[in-house]
Amino acid sequence: MSTVETVALVKHYDNDVIAVNSIDLHIKEGEFLVLLGPSGSGKTTLLRMIAGLEKVTSGKIYMGGRDVTHLPPRARNLSMVFQSYALYPHMSVFGNIAFPLKAKGLPYQERKKKVEWAASLFGIEQYLQRKPRQLSGGQRQRVALARALVHEPSVFLLDEPLSNLDAQLRASARDEIKQFQRRIATTTIYVTHDQVEAMGMGDRIAVMNHGNMHQIGTPQELYREPADTFVATFLGSPPMNLLNQKECIIGFHPEHFLPKDIIHEESPRFEFPFRVTRVEYLGADRFVYGIVPSESGHTRVISKIPSLVTVPLETDQLYTFAVLKEDMKYFDKKTGKRIDPIPFSMAVFEHAEV
């Protein structure tokens, strides 16, 4: 176990791509940090620099307070699970899991004990003699995980380890990894582009785009207080609605955009005209797609209504929807950063005094 810290970490590739742009991260001991961002945002590059597989252009990396910026991977006592699992095809499952122990010069008997321990954690004891090509995707992933933890590293790095699994397996594997990490409490950095995965697994989430860090925080913080419009629109399914105003950009989650009638009369709120174009019933929720008309143009907006609310909604009808004042977010028009609430010019109805 150890902390991981990056200070002003930068990576330029030869082709002038700035893959990682001055990233400051501080990962606490035993923390599960998720690096979240769309494809090409620099997550893998950042992870590979932390692993020591990629040269750092500038900046520093510390592990447990020790400067490891220029140390090779083997001097960092970490383990990594690649997206491809990178199992050694010429070795048996046993050989694969024992490989990191061999590097440490452990005698055979101890290696055997540890491999059996790691294999039993993931329920793959019966496959120890098989070759990787004789395993299913889920089994391979378990072998990769067992190999990653067998030598009890101080940091765990995982690069989209679930993206090669089918949806069903993914959900159970997500659970398993999370539980397992809780148990061994090893500092973990987990890369994904899937915000649902990130929200479900991370103690904290670091949101990246174009090599820049947009926000680091707990899932609740990201949800309640997104730092900018990128974070706001990247998280949540469906993501936050944004409306362009003269003074600023306003934003609200679909689940906060509700028919006016079901909001308590006394609550301070903003009201919007809403023309419904399509309604989707999805079990527990109703997704209502529509348009908020205004002078600056029509904006597509989604409302997510719990199915307990049975207000009838017809397509092509104009309704009045509302957002509680406390649920409204404000963003700067130029920078996209979140700002304190300011009055905006849209014709709104503020019911009660604040």
């Binding site: 990178a86 050694y88 010429h90 490989f99």
Partner: protein, 285 residues
């Protein structure tokens, strides 16, 4: 319908074996002829108009094989060829493997172009090079020595084998060796324990290929070895068993078969891997 089906199947099988058999016969005929000739007596061999050249008309004899071993330096030639072959294979592996590995891994897109450039060197024919090479050989004082060949053969085995191994290394995913580095090994350790074992077909291809090249090379061997004690087999038998216009055909045939047989056997054992090696180099290289 069922009957038709079976008839069709049988016909197909017969045709397949017929065609394959024809080709096998075509390929094997020279060997057959060589074996027959090697054991023919002079009287039988020198009278092809009356005697059937494909069979023994007189009883077979081992005279010419005995002659080969007792009256020529045949065993020395073989030994020389083996020494040259093994040395060249080792030198080639020693240079081509790290060169190919670094081209495949360390220099990005540049590696590919350099790889092709190195391959181009291989295409320069030795017949053009042996005159300048003789200067080099005399400069290092290796005239009339098999070690001159050990020095020269790598000039074409290394470029070709570098290119061949380059294709191999590139087909091995980078992840796997990076994983080994994360798992606690140095880059060299990762290459030794993970990359090389996966490149065994490539290494075998290099071994077979370089060995064969040294075995059938003629120009350099003829130019740079003159005494019997230094000659490899390709030059040895053809200079000692051809005297003026007298060809010792039976002994020549025997000498060729004795060398070809073990190689053919080894070749067949590794045939599958060897083909994999060549095609991988061709497709990915």
């Amino acid at each position: 319908m069922n009957r038709h089906y079976w008839l069709g199947k049988i016909f197909k099988g017969v045709m397949t074996y017929f065609i394959v058999g024809l080709f096998a016969l075509f390929a094997a005929l020279p060997f057959y002829q060589m074996v027959i000739i090697a054991f023919k007596s002079n009287a039988d061999f020198n009278n092809p108009r009356e005697n059937n050249p494909f069979i023994f008309n007189d009883p077979p004899t081992t005279d010419h094989i005995v002659y080969l071993f007792e009256q020529t330096e045949y065993l020395t030639f073989i030994l020389n060829s083996v020494i040259i072959g093994v040395s060249v294979v080792l030198i080639t592996l020693l240079f081509a493997t790290p060169a190919a590995y670094s081209l495949a891994r360390l220099t990005g897109r540049l590696g590919e172009r350099l790889g092709i450039l190195i391959f181009l060197v291989y295409l320069i024919p030795p017949t053009l090079l042996f005159i300048p090479m003789s200067q080099v050989v005399s400069f290092v004082g290796l005239q009339n020595s098999k070690w001159a060949l050990v020095m020269l053969y790598p000039t074409f085995t290394i470029p070709f084998c570098t290119w061949l191994m380059f294709g191999f290394f590139r087909s091995i995913p980078r992840d796997i060796e990076e994983q080994a580095m994360v798992d606690g090994y140095s880059r060299f350790g990762a290459m030794w324990r993970v990359v090389l074992p996966l490149a065994v077909p490539g290494v075998l291809t290099v071994v077979v290929f370089s060995f064969m090249l040294t075995l059938h090379e003629y120009i350099y061997a003829l130019a740079f070895t003159t005494s019997s004690s230094e000659k490899p087999i390709s030059v040895g038998v053809t200079t000692e068993l051809v005297r003026g216009d007298v060809f010792f055909w039976q002994s020549l045939m025997a000498s060729a078969i004795i060398v070809a047989l073990p190689i053919a056997i080894v070749y067949n054992l590794f045939l599958n891997r060897f083909v994999a090696g060549l095609t991988m180099g061709a497709v990915k290289g």
